[in-house]
Every structure is written in C-alpha cells, then in structure tokens.
C-alpha cells in the first residue's frame, strides 16, 4: 500500500471514526483531557450532549447552504442568460462588495434586524453563503467560450439543452468549488452563532471562555475543526466523483 493510499484511507475512515467516537462518548474526553487538567471539576461539556450540538450545527449549515445553493446557482444562471444579462453588472458589484463584508459583522448586523437565535443565523449564513456560489456560477458559465455556444447552436440544441448538456457540465467544477467555499465559510460562521444563541459547536467554546474552562474550549474547538475538515474533504471527494475532468 502506497503512502498516498494510506493517507486517503486515513481520511476516509480514521477521521470520521475519531469524530464519531468523540461525539458519542464522554469517557474518551475524560481519558484524553484528565492528564492535562487534573484539577478541573467539569471536564466534559454536559449541558447538552455533544452529538446534539453537532446536529444543530449541521442543521444550520445544511439549511442555509441548500438555500444558498438553490438561489445562488439560479441567480448565476439567470444573469448569464440574455434575458437577465442586464442584471450582470449590478449582481457582480453587489457580490464583490458583499464578499469584503466580514461574516461575523454580517451575523451581528442581522441581530438588530431579525432578533436573536436560529433565524438571524440562518439568514446571515444564507446571505453570506450566496456570494461565492453566485460568483463561481457566473464565472464558470462565462468561461464557456462563444465557439462552444456556436457549436451547440449549430448542432440544433435549444437554449435549455445547451445550458444543461453543455454549459453546466463545463462549469460544474467551478460551481462546486464555489459551493464548497460557501459551506466551509458557513461552518465557521455558524460557530460564532453560539454567541447569538443559535446553538451548535461554538457553544462549548463560548461556555468555556465565559467560565474559564479550557477543556470546554478545547472540546468545541476540536469538534468544530474536525467537522469543518471532514465536510470539506467529503465535498472535495464528491466534487471529483461528479466531475470527471476534475480528476487528474
């Protein structure tokens, strides 16, 4: 077995297994952390089971990213059609402006507008997650050259057929990369959602910071870090599976 294979096997099995173990059993944390923090009274965050926090986190990201993907790709497709092309400059400048907005600030601003909790987090994650998807959808579709459009037209494909059989397959890996960026950003922003009462894996970190408990902080940090890496790696894999040309 080569080093590469061993690495990919590690990623495929070891990390998910480790993650599963860490969220299902508190005794693992006891074993790992007790030597480091011998005098700490509460070693494992216990106000909610860790797996529940993972579910909350995953739920926020899944809902917002699914919405962002649907709306974002739709918008990207719309502004690259002849009927919507008029909107391209506006959408482009809104997107590039919006992308400079720090996600934490967007999250914060949504509180005065919508209030605390789950809802503003979803709205902020959705809005912010839109940007990379719209941008990559546009640039992916725009990168399909005029000669390819001409060829498709010449073969008698309708506009819709051209979109789904030619443009989307050619742009797919750029679009998928945008979705992946969006999801990773959303996972990160969702941890901050804990500060506005949205739950998720940021909760132990914030609790640990408030009660001066480094073990809580470490739990939240390790789990949210692992979660992000796992999702990113999974999407990377899915991307390669879906797009033959993305494989070397």
């Amino acid at each position: 077995m080569s080093v590469k294979q061993a690495q990919s096997l590690g990623k495929l099995i070891l990390l998910p297994a480790l993650f599963g173990l860490l969220i299902s059993s508190t005794s693992v944390w006891e074993i790992l952390l007790r030597p480091a923090f011998p005098h700490l009274e509460n070693l494992v965050y216990s106000r909610a089971p860790l797996w529940e926090l993972v579910v909350q986190h995953a739920n926020m990201v899944a809902v917002s990213s699914t919405l962002a993907t649907l709306v974002g790709t739709g918008l990207g497709v719309f502004v690259t059609r002849s009927r919507g092309r008029e909107f391209l400059p506006v959408v482009n400048s809104l997107v590039s402006m919006g992308q400079t907005f720090p996600p934490v600030a967007v999250l914060a601003v949504s509180v005065p507008m919508v209030g605390f909790g789950y809802k503003p987090t979803i709205i902020a994650l959705f809005l912010y997650g839109l940007l990379p998807i719209v941008r990559n959808t546009i640039s992916g579709l725009e990168s399909v050259g005029p000669e390819i459009h001409e060829a498709a037209q010449g073969m008698g494909l309708t506009a819709v057929q051209t979109l789904f059989r030619v443009e989307v397959p050619l742009a797919l890996h750029v679009i998928m990369a945008g979705i992946r960026t969006s999801v990773v950003i959303n996972i990160g922003t969702a941890t901050i959602g804990a500060t506005i009462g949205a739950g998720g894996l940021g909760v132990p970190i914030i609790a640990g910071l408030n009660s001066d408990n480094p073990a809580f902080i470490l739990q939240g940090a390790v789990l949210s870090g692992l979660f992000a890496i796992l999702v990113d790696a999974g999407m990377n894999r899915a991307e390669r599976g879906a797009v033959p040309s993305a494989q070397e």
């Binding site: 400059p89 914060a108 990160g188 939240g220 870090g225």
Partner: protein
C-alpha cells in the same frame, strides 16, 4: 389598440421598486424609549416632513418611468440626482432624528430602520445600473465624486449626531478609538508577520515542486478550521506552555488575548499570501526567465528586474485577501480577549444593546471595505501599464 408600455430596463425597474418599498412595508426609522427598550417602527410619512417624502417618491417615480421610456442612453444630467440622493437621504435622516428626539424623553433613541438600509442598497443598484448605460468620458464621474464628497460632509459635519449609533459612538469615543487602533494593530501585525513568512515560503514552494502539495494541503486545512475553533485550539496549549516556561510570561505572552489571536490570524493569512506568491511567480512566462538568464542576469537580478515586477500584482491581491479576511477574524478574536472592534459586537450581544452591536459591526464592515479599496488602488499603481 392600446398596448402596455414596454419595459426597457429591468434593472432600473426593480431598483426603483426596491427604492419605493421605503413607503411600505418597511419602517424608515426606529424609535426606542431608551438604549435597550424594544423598538417602535416609524413609517416614512411619520418620520420625515412632507417635502422629503414627496421628493423621494418623485425621485423613484422618475426612474420607474424612465425604465419604460426615454432614450437607451443615460444622460449625465440624470446622474446628478442619483449621485446626490444617498447624501440627501442621510441628511434628512439626521434632521428627522434631531426633530423626533427634541420632543421625546432624554434617554430616547432613534436609529435607522430597514427602510433606510434598503434605500441605500437601492441607490447602489441604481448607480450601477445608470453607470453601465452612460457614455464614456471623464465628465460622467463628476456627479459621483460630488456625491461622495457630500456624503463625507454629511458624516463629518455632525448632522447625524442624534442617530443612536452616533450617540453610542460619542458616548464611548475614547474606548472606540482605542479599540479601533487595537483592531488595526492586530490585523496589521498578523498580516505583516504572515507576509514575512508567506512570501518567502511562496517563493520556495514555487522553486521546489515537492514541497508544494504538502504546503498547500496543510494551509488549506488551517484555513478550513473555523476561526473561533483555531483560537480555542491555541488557548489550552499556550496556557500550559507558559506555565511550563515562565520566561514566556515575562515576555508578555499569555494563554489568552493577543498571543493566541496573533498566532491564529498569522496562520490564517498564510494561505492567500503563499498561494498568490506562488501563483505570481508561476505566471512569469518561462521565456522571460530564459531571456533574462540569456542576457546575463544573475539570480538576484532576475528576481528583482523580471520575476518580482511580473508577479507583484498577483502577490498584492493575495495580501488584499489576507487583510480583508483578517479584519473580520480580528473581530472574532475579541471573544478570546484580544480586543478590537469585536469587543462592542460581543458586549452588545451580551447586553442586547443593538446600538452597541452596530457600533462594532458597522465600522468593521467599513474597515474591510476601506482596506479592500486601498489595496485595489495599490494594485493598480503597482501594475505597470504594459501588464494591464
């Protein structure tokens, strides 16, 4: 046979409709009896005197009609109201706030409602739409310049002093300035350190292919980890390290605050900087290096006369990404006690004090946008004409 008027510009149409939502359903201003009392929305008609709302209706009405009729090209004269409108709106908002507060209890507050924010977005859309349809020529940018100057004047003149955000700012002026400076220091220092390490690393990675995949693999993982998690991961190990080595403590290092913040932010900024340094050098066409070598340049001369000037714009845009990103992540670092504008955000969230949240969030956004604009300018200046 009567026909429906044909829609000429959908962008203009939608922009105007969005602008008109300020009439209904969105509240224009929000009134609160005190800092943390629940807000009460005031409609446009309640909030501003009739000439102001009439003017706003006429303004959007004109552009609504304009989306159906008139020439395809936008005349420079039409740009004038569009370019001046944002500052006028802000002026009116300030006037109304003063007016409303003069009749209210001492601790009352007035803040901008969704109507104002949406109006500002609508103005932005309107301007982009208009400017994509004007003729060329420098003259067309004069209204925009005047508008920007006017907006700055409105902001600087104290016209908005009775808006709750500004009231909050005035009350906490000293703390605000010190946290802003703190924020700039954290961002600047982390990007600076990252540049010192990242540019040479990017160059090494460009020269040594075997290091490339590994380096990017690691930096990608770092970038994937949520910023809050990365801060959290550093706290415990740092605390232990400092307990073990007291000297570090005397050097001013702590398990919380600046130390983990700077370390994490430096790591965060590495990926864009290393990636773009590599991409910049990789963009140097091989024949340029060959020509340079063939002319008798040594390695250093080749680097400074040919490769670096060619790579610089791409390298700078990596710095731009790193800076903008770190302005935001520095705000998160307030959670681990590093200070910065995030302090107001999280204090505000803790106290449900909306103005305080905005006092942290709005300047953070402005800072990010400003840094971005600054870098765009810098990149333009650093790009030789032959490469544009």
């Amino acid at each position: 046979m009567p026909v429906l008027p044909r829609l000429r510009s959908k962008v203009l149409f939608l922009g105007s409709i969005l602008g008109l939502t300020v009439l209904w359903p969105f509240a224009f201003l929000i009134f609160r009896a005190n800092r943390i009392a629940p807000g009460e929305g005031l409609s446009l008609f309640q909030a501003v005197p009739w000439p102001a709302w009439l003017g706003l209706i006429l303004f959007w009405g004109y552009f609504l009609l304009r989306s159906f009729a008139g020439s395809e090209r936008i005349r420079t004269l039409e740009l004038v109201p569009a370019a001046l409108a944002p500052s006028c709106l802000l002026f009116i908002v300030g006037e109304s706030a003063t007016e409303i507060l003069s009749q209210a209890q001492p601790y009352a507050r007035v803040s901008m409602g969704p109507g104002v924010w949406i109006s500002l977005i609508a103005f932005f859309i309107l301007l982009v739409a208009l400017y994509s349809r004007t003729g060329s020529g420098r003259g067309v940018y004069i209204p925009l310049g005047v508008g920007a100057a006017l907006a700055l004047w409105v902001l600087a003149s104290g016209q908005l002093k009775d808006l709750s955000l500004v009231t909050e700012l005035i009350q906490r002026r000293e703390r605000f300035v010190s946290e802003l400076v703190n924020h700039l220091w954290i961002t600047g220092l982390s990007v600076g350190l990252s540049t010192l390490a990242g540019v040479p690393l990017g160059f090494i990675v460009f020269r040594r292919a075997w290091l490339r995949d590994k380096t990017f693999y690691i930096l990608n993982i770092v970038q994937t980890i949520p910023s809050l998690a990365l801060f959290g991961l550093l706290i415990a190990p740092l605390a232990m390290l400092i307990t073990a080595v007291p000297l570090l403590k005397e050097l001013g290092l702590r398990g919380i605050g600046w130390t983990p913040a700077i370390i994490a932010l430096t790591l965060y900024a590495m990926l864009p900087i290393v990636r773009n340094t590599y991409a910049g050098f990789a963009a140097v066409e091989p024949e340029l290096a060959e020509a340079g070598r063939g002319m008798g340049m040594n390695r250093v001369q080749l680097l400074f006369l040919v490769e670096l000037p060619r790579a610089l714009p791409i390298l700078l845009s990596g710095l731009r990404i790193a800076c903008v990103q770190n302005v935001g992540n520095t705000a998160v670092a307030a959670l681990i006690g590093a200070g910065g504008l995030g302090v107001f955000i999280f204090q505000g969230l803790g106290q449900s004090a909306l103005d305080l949240i905005m006092l942290g969030a709005v300047p953070t956004i402005l800072l990010a946008v400003g840094v971005d604009a600054l870098f765009q300018l810098l990149i333009r200046l650093a790009t030789p004409r032959g490469l544009r």
